[in-house]
Symmetry: D3
Subunit: 228 residues, 6 copies
């Protein structure tokens, strides 16, 4: 009953690659604070930053069969996004699968489960964001859907949406929003650069952002003695 969807759309790689210039926090802000995957997904090494098209994959608990199915659908510039159908921290993925993905141009892995061979993956420079590191092996008995929309770590991800991931975590940008988010990210970063200079010179955020009146309105009160 598992489904594999071929020939799904992807976001053009020039847009994807341009998004990779911006960090996850910037992109998350640029799209109104949406699209963030849960913070329990952590990179296996740091620093790191990638962007790519989501190649989505569901796996049964303790069963990595559909990852092998997904490899065949990979295109250069993809990032594999794996979610288990129920919570699992087994080591679904290791350096052999990474070798195979690299051969097909895949840029990294995002998985709401465990991975293993992390020393090898680090040596190879194959980036992974996972919720666990575990040597626990998996079976190949129950295939899952590949290239269908999934929920991964609390976020809704469709094939060909853009995944950006760095030391801060992972964010998904909807395919149809990618260009707009790219523009908004650039605007945000330009704006921040001006602020950075002023803050570095000692200017207070209270003044830079003109917060004092609003704070007073909200009841902020200054006193000179410690409360008893």
């Amino acid at each position: 009953m598992a489904l594999v969807v071929r020939n799904t759309e992807r976001t053009p790689l020039d847009v994807v690659d341009a998004l990779a210039h911006y960090g996850v926090a910037t992109i998350h802000e640029a799209q109104d604070r949406t699209g963030l995957l849960a913070a329990h997904l952590r990179p296996i090494y740091r620093p790191v930053r990638i962007a790519g098209n989501a190649l989505t994959c569901e796996v049964a608990p303790g069963d990595n069969w559909s990852i092998h199915v997904a490899v065949e659908l990979a295109r250069p510039g993809d990032v594999l996004v794996v979610t288990p159908t129920s919570p699992c921290s087994d080591g679904y993925f290791g350096e052999l699968l990474a070798t195979s993905l690299v051969a097909h141009g895949v840029r990294g892995l995002v998985i709401d489960a465990g991975v293993r061979d992390v020393a090898d993956l680090t040596s190879m420079g194959f980036p992974v964001w996972s919720k666990a590191v575990s040597a626990q092996g998996t079976v190949k008995e129950t295939p899952g859907n590949v290239q269908t929309p999934i929920v991964c770590a609390g976020a809704y991800v469709r094939p060909g949406d853009v995944i950006v991931a760095d030391d801060d975590g992972v964010v998904v940008v909807r395919r149809e929003d990618a260009s707009a988010v790219l523009a908004a990210s650039k605007a945000r970063e330009d704006n921040e650069q001006a602020k950075r200079v002023r803050l570095a010179a000692g200017e207070l955020g209270l003044d830079l952002y003109a917060m004092r009146d609003k704070l007073a309105t909200r009841g902020l009160r200054y006193v000179d003695e410690a409360p008893s």
Copy 2:
């Protein structure tokens, strides 16, 4: 209804700086195993060690407004200590705020919540101890108390108490105890150096600490076969 207390006392920086020579474990022992913040606070990079005066700040969940208020009260040698009024792992703090704090002489951040821009914070050498890394942004709607006594990660922290933080975690030293704890830390470390030499030479802790009789009294029994 939020309160900002100006002109709170601080611990003299010579005492603070001298405490920075000792690790968190040593200081925690030197003050009778008190003052430790919960172990879920972890540094964003290692190795690291700092000491400073606590600049305390409460924040609403998902709202970092009072951090901006706190910056104005910062003095060189402070460490910002932030606690949310209910559990939250959002990314309250990033490199712009760090830039601002550095401009005011603040030495680091301890936060029982999340931070973002950790690659930049690491590059800047701005040390942070947090319970999470998360790109999730925060709003500025509800100010919280600044420079009042707080509970952060299970420890009671008052403005001007000394914060020492390293790879092992974070400890608070009460302002009025700082000199005594400094002396006790030095004594402890001197004592340990002598033990280290003897243990390195192969002497047993059982003999060095004269434990054998007490162990026998407590019922320790030696046998030569494995139990069935």
Copy 3:
């Protein structure tokens, strides 16, 4: 009522040392996916890999007394394996104990609890797998069993079983199985090398492992449009 068992058997060091050539994931697979300790045990630094004979030790919560007892029973090539009698994340172990263990030839520590002095332990190159880093000190009031069979992080470990630990985690190999597992590990690694070359050349796992028929039997279906 605590028991210390002297003169327990150990696995010959040539077998132990040969097992150290293989990673935890490989050995775990080579013994039918058994013997893995829970994934919450993480190394304090990476990369790292060791193997040794289990020197087992039970500790009371917040009480590290029996670790001192265990040191006397250590032999070169041992790995200390510590489990608390109820869940605890205190810092049972630091650099003084590590200094003592190194003097007796112990290769590392596996502990289902906390450790401290992790900056020093890292500098010394003393490897530790723990469930927490915590500066919280422990008392010496209640001795626990030493060199008896224990459950550590969900695995049954007997004195003299082989412990292998690396970036992926920790696995225990039963003393009587050590030679067979060594042979199976070598066979597995040889087999994987051939596969690695083919996967790196772009061959699909679907073909390499001849999965296509079985997948069809299990109901995998390919379509060309995304599901609504």
Copy 4:
């Protein structure tokens, strides 16, 4: 920037009400083991079972403003489904809001956060599935989306999808699948009744489900002595 969508479609109440005859486990099986919300959502009292149309609502952390917005869009037979935009366990909901929802025909609440007044909610017979019970109050500063598709506790929920919830947890049935799932649930339950009678009479599942050959093929081996 928050969006409220009026006049969304709903599943006909006769189908919804018919689904309420079946438990969450049955419905989850009847739709190929999809649609389950995470198991950390637990009912505040037991036994309980409801079904209704999803009335969806996003809330900021520590901010329940959009729940008030959602009430206006409620129709009889709805179940309110609330998800925070970042993890939060505050008490977003109490008996005043429940009173208001009851007045508008809402049958219960599913919330991936905390609730309070659980004694009153229990007395009222207003069913709630939540991840926490907490008296912590929330503010009204940042509205969230209402009646847009959301991810709640790991499941994708759209307005007007059917929510079924009982002692086992919560499942969502897609609006367009509701009739088919209803039929499949009935078929499944009929089938189980026959099995129940045979199992109660002592027949073995091994025989009832004809498992013995497949088990032998998969390597199951019977022995008469315990392994050493």
Copy 5:
């Protein structure tokens, strides 16, 4: 080095008893959303509500000795509040200690650790809020402070502060604030009764609280079609 403080002040029992008429959520609101203990403290049976003077007690991990010390200081109307000096979920407390406390007029237990004999405690009607139920026994080797200020489940509690606890959790009211909080609680409850009647009649919170303009200002937008 443990300290027992005798003759600490308490809050007058008439104020304490009057506070018991209000739930934890009401009191928490009445004192500006402060004083709540963490939501992981849950009652062992429901429904339940008590108020009493805090009798504070620190315990070592796995060691309940100081609870015995605390009993001697108990006065009628007290609630025992116990915090471990490092995280522990052992069963510190059972029906024998409850029997002793009842004999001295203590009304219940709040403990950021585990309890056992919960069937007996339930039969006795002795209320407990704990973070765990565990049969794991504790030793008597290391006394802790009694009747000193403590941090329990994230809240700062001093001897003689008022503890109110019910199905929603536990809140502490500062001794010097008790009368004012009592008055504010009454005012809040009176105010809510009027709202309850209007909400039950179907009036919307949007109108009752006059939220529509502010929501529009904050960017809430209504549309009639679902977003793509």
Copy 6:
């Protein structure tokens, strides 16, 4: 490669049934505080108490096949003890399996994973201790060992060891120790009855257990003013 061991020894039912008169806390104490399963195993209803012979079973993650195998080996008076080979919270067990177990005289289930149909299991009076309630179904692809020694929730359990479970949790008594533990439990309970009477009369534990001298030796100090 899974193994099923037939004709394992069991503890005589008269001893098992006599142990059921004592609670888990008492038995755990009577055998020197050993044998307790982790506290995250909780009963699905309360009050409850059972004792029985362990019928052990390993299951793959998300796969309950070997439970069906275990039923055939059940004998009246058994308690089924199930452990997954890696952490899993799926609903491995429901009312159909319970119906089958009841038909074979099995008294209850202990499972370090999830169960479903808890409303039905409660109505049937079939007791279960689990780490989760989840409707998530499981597959039947990978058999596990049955009636071999296992680690369940941190405890080592062999077929025919005695399982006692109640509101406090679950404890295992080794088959060869069962009679001695029964005697020790009776002695402990007799002893406690005498203490209960004295404590109920207001006698202090400090006196009853003659703790005052030892406390003074350990540094307990009484003062009459609160510390600053």
